[in-house]
């Protein structure tokens, strides 16, 4: 698993990364009441707004962790945002991103580095 400073995780299968928000992020956000997912086929550059997760009190943007194209989204979390809160790093994944450049993965953190970041 790889992690970003913006509290996203990526799990790689071939050149497709499954992306979600970290357990640390969901703890900070509180119970989610709405998730807005991207459309399949959307091409993204690293840092683009890709999804929105909303709690009772605030909306938070999710950014594209790397360059790529959306190939699948998790409709289950759009129907029931509480899945993201209860199981953020498995069933609560948000979207699958076909990476434009596999080498860019090296710029992301491993789990130990991410844990050090969030304390």
């Amino acid at each position: 698993m790889k992690f970003t400073e913006d509290h996203e995780w990526l799990k790689l299968e071939g050149d497709v990364a499954t992306v979600g928000i970290t357990e640390h992020a969901t703890t900070q956000l509180g119970d989610l009441v709405f998730v807005q997912l991207p459309e399949i086929g959307t091409k993204l550059a690293k840092g683009d707004d890709v999804a929105v997760v909303e709690s009772v009190k605030a909306a938070s943007d999710v950014y594209a962790p790397l360059d790529g194209e959306i190939v699948e989204v998790n409709e289950a979390v759009a129907n029931d945002p509480s899945i993201v809160s209860s199981d953020p790093q498995n069933a609560g994944w948000l979207f699958k991103l076909k990476l434009a450049d596999m080498n860019a993965l090296e710029s992301l953190m491993d789990e130990a580095a991410y844990k050090a970041l969030v304390g």
């Binding site: 913006d6 996203e8 992020a25 709405f34 997760v53 009190k57 909306a59 938070s60 943007d61 950014y63």
Partner: protein, 385 residues
């Protein structure tokens, strides 16, 4: 990802007498109106909200201002007449032991601040918003000092809200049992002289309890010791009041909105309207009295987004998907946990104010259908009899 959190000012933040207790209960503290306040506790906003409606929640509102108007003549009617020079509300008709909602108006009829006014027999007690308490005190001193001694009380204030509030508080303070909605009484709790009102900001039955500073922590601990009581932060306080259709001063009402536009005409009693025994006589009366007769161009309304996406404060409102000019603005918006749907309030032209009218709110560049609806979003459970 990144949360859109409010910006903070650099001024040193004040703490309430319950600050340490909040930390012990796992509060996440945020700057609010110059204070470090709990935005949520361990339960989180959603569960805190639902717990308050199902059982009881304890809120620290010690940041709010408590101001005494003591008549120099000794007759509380003189303080009431004096205060009526600043508010379009019947204060003289407020019986001893009763409280009512009021607001200071400016020369244009706009709302400077909203408050509760209690008749305590020989004086009036005002509870005003934290952000404007200094300005309110200055206004009172400037305008009413000939008739009243004005004193800001250095006391704590907490609210116990929810269907279990009465049973819990009357165990500590049996004298609270007979109180009705908007009654005020002096009550001994834990041996301390407290001022209790049966009121709140949630739409639930409940009490607001003003305590001496040193008594605040033991009273809060006694209430939190009850299994039905959870500590509740500002996050749930806001979603609870939004569901109850109550205005947040500075968002839903401000110096640019009149009480008529804000749909607060219920708070302007007949005696202060045209034909009333003390009609007018407050700042902006010409504007407010004319609007009471003729209506206003825009009015505060309830809004229900059709989908699941929350429509938040500041979202512009449009007549159609294509219209280029916005016709109004969302002034409070979010998710209503008890409604289990997004809810909002905002201002629209009168012609769009009929419940069932569909307009569109712009959220992240997309226009979402929103229906005008009656307020409140929940059925209030005040103890009126």
């Amino acid at each position: 990802m990144s949360a859109t959190t409010p910006t903070t000012s650099s001024a040193p933040l004040k703490r309430t007498p319950l600050y340490e207790l909040h930390l012990e209960h796992g509060a996440r503290m945020v700057p609010f109106a110059g204070y470090e306040m709990p935005v949520q506790f361990a339960l989180g906003v959603l569960k805190e909200h639902l717990h308050t409606r199902a059982a009881a929640g304890l809120f620290d509102v010690s940041h709010m201002g408590q101001i005494v108007l003591r008549p120099k003549s000794g007759d509380v009617a003189d303080a009431a007449r004096a205060l009526e020079r600043l508010v379009p509300v019947d204060i003289l008709g407020l019986a001893p032991g009763r409280q009512r909602y009021a607001f200071f108006t400016n020369a244009n009829g706009g709302i400077i601040d909203d408050m509760m006014v209690a008749n305590r027999g020989d004086h009036l007690l005002l509870v005003v918003n934290a952000a404007s308490k200094e300005a309110d005190e200055a206004l009172l001193r400037a305008e009413l000092s000939d008739d009243c001694d004005i004193e800001r009380l250095d006391r704590a204030l907490m609210a116990l809200q929810g269907p279990r509030a009465e049973a819990i508080l009357t165990r500590l303070a049996p004298d609270c049992a007979g109180m009705r909605f908007m009654d005020v009484r002096e009550v001994q709790i834990n041996g301390a002289a407290c001022i209790v009102t049966r009121s709140g900001y949630t739409g639930e039955d409940g009490f607001e309890i003003s305590t001496p500073i040193e008594a605040a922590r033991p009273i809060a601990e006694a209430l939190l010791g009850e299994p039905d009581v959870e500590p509740i932060g500002l996050g749930a306080r806001d979603s609870l009041r939004l569901e109850a259709g109550m205005c947040l001063c500075g968002s839903d009402i401000d110096t640019e909105t009149t009480p008529v536009e804000a749909d607060l005409v219920w708070a302007i009693q007949k005696s202060r309207r045209i034909g009333g025994v003390r009609a007018g006589g407050y700042p902006g009366a010409d504007t407010i009295l004319e609007q009471l007769e003729k209506g206003t161009e825009r009015r505060r309304v309830g809004l229900r987004p059709e989908g699941r996406a929350p429509v938040r404060t500041g979202a512009p409102l449009f007549e159609s998907l294509e219209a280029s000019e916005s016709i109004g603005l969302v002034t409070s918006g979010g998710f209503g946990p008890s409604v289990d749907a997004p809810i909002a309030m905002g201002y629209l032209p009168g012609s769009f104010g009929t419940p069932g009218t569909k307009v569109f709110a712009e959220v992240r560049g997309k226009r979402l259908p929103v229906n005008v609806t009656e307020l409140p979003f929940i059925v209030p459970r005040y103890k009126r009899s």
